[in-house]
Amino acid sequence: MTRQSVAKAHEKIQELAWEPLYHEPVSQYGTDYTFSKAKKKDPLNQVLRSDFPMQEEKDHRVYGAADGAIRGNMFRQVQERWLEWQKLFLSIIPLPEISAARAMPLLFNTVPNPELHNGQAIQMIDEVRHSTIQQNLKRLYMNNYIDPAGFNSSLRNFQNDYCGTIGRQFAEGFITGDAITAASIYLTIVAETAFTNTLFVAMPAEAAANGDYLLPTVFHSVQSDESRHISNGYATLLMALADEGNHQLLERDLRYAWWNNHRVVDAAIGTFIEYGTKDRRKDRESYAEMWRRWIYDDYYRSYLVPLEKYGLVIPHDLIEESWNQIWNKGYVHEVAQFFCTGWLANYWRMDPMTDKDFEWFEYKYPGWYDKYGKWWENYARLSTPNGHHPIVAEDVDYQYPHRCWTCMVPCLVREDMVMAEVDGQMRTYCHEACRWTDVEAFRPTYQGRETPNMGQLIGKREWETLYHGWNWADVVSDMGYVRDDGHTLVAQPHLNLDPKKMWNLDHLRRMPPLQSPNVLLNEMTPAEQQAFHANYIKGGPAGRPAPADA
């Protein structure tokens, strides 16, 4: 920066904005929110003359560390258990990042304050930075880590895998529907302000504990940009709060965005941190402890609650319910168990848990072993092919779950599953809040109010239905999760790379066909459906079917 101060320079660039005299910019995105035009301060207070060299310097540090990692043979001490889960995470995350860039123009017309647009443009290019720097990290892993399978097929697999599809909400939710719901409340107020803490701060710490210091290098660099994106969101939120007519929509959108982020991010990051680590020191924080610190205390109590006095209706009940799900209902454990149940339909290797892991889980989550221990022992027992099927087709006291039509994570906490007939289809939801999202929030009217700009939940939202009646070998071939010998699966339920210990298409060919729970449900009579529901909610924990006498 030259002798001109950043503040003075920033003040000067405010002169760039102008009101159209002859033609209005095209208006392509709608919102049901209303904003009054008033002079606002650009919350980023940033000029590109200082921003670009700063970002370049941050890049120098990131790429210097990458060189150092290779020269220092970092991969000799990286835990495979950890890096395998990165095949999922790093296949997902570049899309949410670039979608955040794409989301910025949704705000240009809907938030009519040109002072904010400078910050939004900087956020746009920050997000291009994040997306490509993360793709580059994955490329480095592919080139230097022992098993490139799953990294090398990353974006194809992300796009056709059900785990990737769950993660994809954390991208498409930013760029469609009501512009403020998407690009402001879902993206900046909830995803970036609350959940990037666990994504980009808590998770990198776990990576470092597993011998990988590159992930923290890249993601802390990313997180240093997130902090200013949070300012963008806050400025828009305060403007929205200024109009009382927006309060009902803000309440709706905070409920939807909070719950969806909890369902999606806690499922994924919780699993990576708890089941992808080899660090079992008793004094290292569990995901629940991290969540309590980063999300409950830092976000909820320090950021959200103070906004209550401006009229923001905070979803206290859903925040407490999220904690209840994580702490009392084992949400993360249920998700990890499901991921590993379906290991064969994915593209990374999932390591069995050991006695050391059991001890840590029992210490951090008292009662864990009674619920989940037996199943993980079965998982280890069935991990190498020995005349049996993959665990999904073996009797291990586990009922394959129904999909939640809204968040697409299965209905794992069985007692919470609800059903509703929508658009002629009987749908299952993992929780009442997900039913509300589909049946009430994403609709053209909300509590009697017209909401013509609200988006829609679309797409084929139950993966299993696409493959209903298929042989598993054909499913995995169709998805492309086969290694270069045309025979061995990319995914494995263990870390042993001895080809004799690895599962292949022949093993899958012997399995019974895949059945879509939703197709079967919709073939039932209404009475059968009700009986099915009554039975389902008596199941669990750990996926156990309802007791026979229930």
Partner: protein
């Protein structure tokens, strides 16, 4: 006496031997992204970090888009431009119970063939643009330290405060409301990232001009740092440019917006003003600094933004299925935008007589701009529109 040593709790390094080459097994040597075909023989670093990040239901996106607008359309609809690339008339693969998830063979349609010839991703972008702002800062600082602005004659001071100042608004308006807007709308990540970079070039150039204007306010006593606003709002010579710039931001079709801005507006108005006027007139009026600031923006356009734009439209005008169709559409765009650009360009003519030391004649500059424009069309296999003779 020292306190007894307490072992700190920290993760223990462990030798895992998880580096490439430690074992041989299926896929152990398959160390390239296997889901796309490179443009050249080898996959480039740029392609690896860019291609396929934005999904497409026509090849891999098995479950389709998940979130839609209120009309139920999600993702990046291909009809957000009327131009077509081969293969787009096939609908999305049908999905139903038991359909499987396979789409068409990659790339499924011609939009995915575009690659930014500048190969821009974050590393190249920040490296290039940091160099630009550093160099501009150094040039301006040196000029200040050597009292170079004292060489400017009074008319030139007025010229810069008004006209060079007015140009910042063009860059800012198009950077935000045309280019940043368009990066939400194109069908692939390669398009949208290139457009994002273009957007930032313009926003940076706008800021370069604004901050240069601030420096001049501080260094030249008679320099009016607010005159650019009045010029932009009221000077009749600028209202044609402003009208076209505003109309460009009103275009709904993202490809038309990029084409009209980078293929029509820039050569016929942008380069005419910057290269044929400012860069030519500055030296004679004692100014060696303004051309370095304006030249940085000129370089971004001429060597980078035009380059990717040509690559983007060359594919479409030579498309194996829709070349004639696309050329017909683009001819219509040319007939609409060329007269508007030429009218606005002619309204700028009074500027040529304002400096004491005169630049080459307006008509000569306009001829050069037209000739350059004509060359660009020829590179794109397009004919000159009859309106060019206007």
């Amino acid at each position: 006496m020292t306190a007894p040593t307490v072992e700190r709790s920290s993760p223990k390094p462990e030798f895992t031997d998880a580096e490439a080459g430690a074992k041989e097994f299926p896929d152990s040597t398959l160390r390239h992204y296997n889901y796309y075909t490179p443009q050249k023989r080898k996959q480039s670093h740029y392609e690896d970090v860019t291609v396929e990040v934005q999904p497409d239901p026509r090849h891999y996106l098995a479950q389709g888009w998940l979130y839609g607008f209120s009309d139920g359309r999600g993702g990046y609809p291909l009809d957000w431009t009327v131009l077509k690339a081969w293969g787009v008339d096939r609908g999305d693969p049908e999905r139903y119970p038991g359909s499987g998830g396979k789409g068409y063979e990659w790339p499924a349609h011609g939009w995915h063939e575009f690659r930014d010839p500048n190969e821009e991703w974050e590393l190249t972008f920040y490296r290039n643009n940091s160099n630009v702002v550093r160099q501009i800062n150094q040039n301006v600082d040196t000029a200040r330290e050597t009292k170079a602005f004292e060489q400017w004659n009074p008319n030139w001071v007025t010229f810069v405060e008004r006209n060079v100042g007015a140009w910042m608004h063009v860059e800012h308006g198009l950077g935000l409301y045309l280019f940043a807007n368009a990066q939400r709308r194109a069908p692939t990540n390669m398009h949208n990232n290139a457009i994002s970079v273009n957007s930032m070039h313009r926003i940076r150039f706008a800021q370069d001009l604004a901050l240069y204007n601030l420096t001049l306010s501080e260094e030249i006593e008679s320099f009016d740092g607010t005159a650019h606003v009045e010029t932009w709002n009221e000077d009749p010579a600028w209202q044609g440019v402003r009208g076209v710039a505003e109309e460009l931001t009103a275009i709904d079709d993202w490809a038309e917006a990029i084409f009209a801005a980078n293929i029509v507006f820039e050569p016929l108005i942008g380069e005419l003003f910057r290269s044929q006027l400012v860069q030519q007139a500055s030296p004679g009026n004692g100014d060696f600094v303004t051309p370095t600031v304006v030249g940085a923006g000129e370089w971004d356009y001429a060597s980078r933004d035009l380059r990717y734009t040509k690559a983007m439209f060359e594919l479409l005008t030579n498309d194996k299925e829709f070349a004639d169709y696309n050329k017909g559409i683009i001819d219509g765009w040319l007939s609409n935008w060329v007269p508007k650009a030429l009218t606005a360009a002619r309204q700028l003519q009074p500027l040529w007589s304002q400096p004491d030391a005169k630049p080459p004649r307006f008509e000569d500059g306009l001829d050069r701009a037209k000739s350059r424009f004509s060359g660009i069309l020829s590179d794109l296999s397009l004919d000159n529109p009859k309106e060019l003779t206007q």
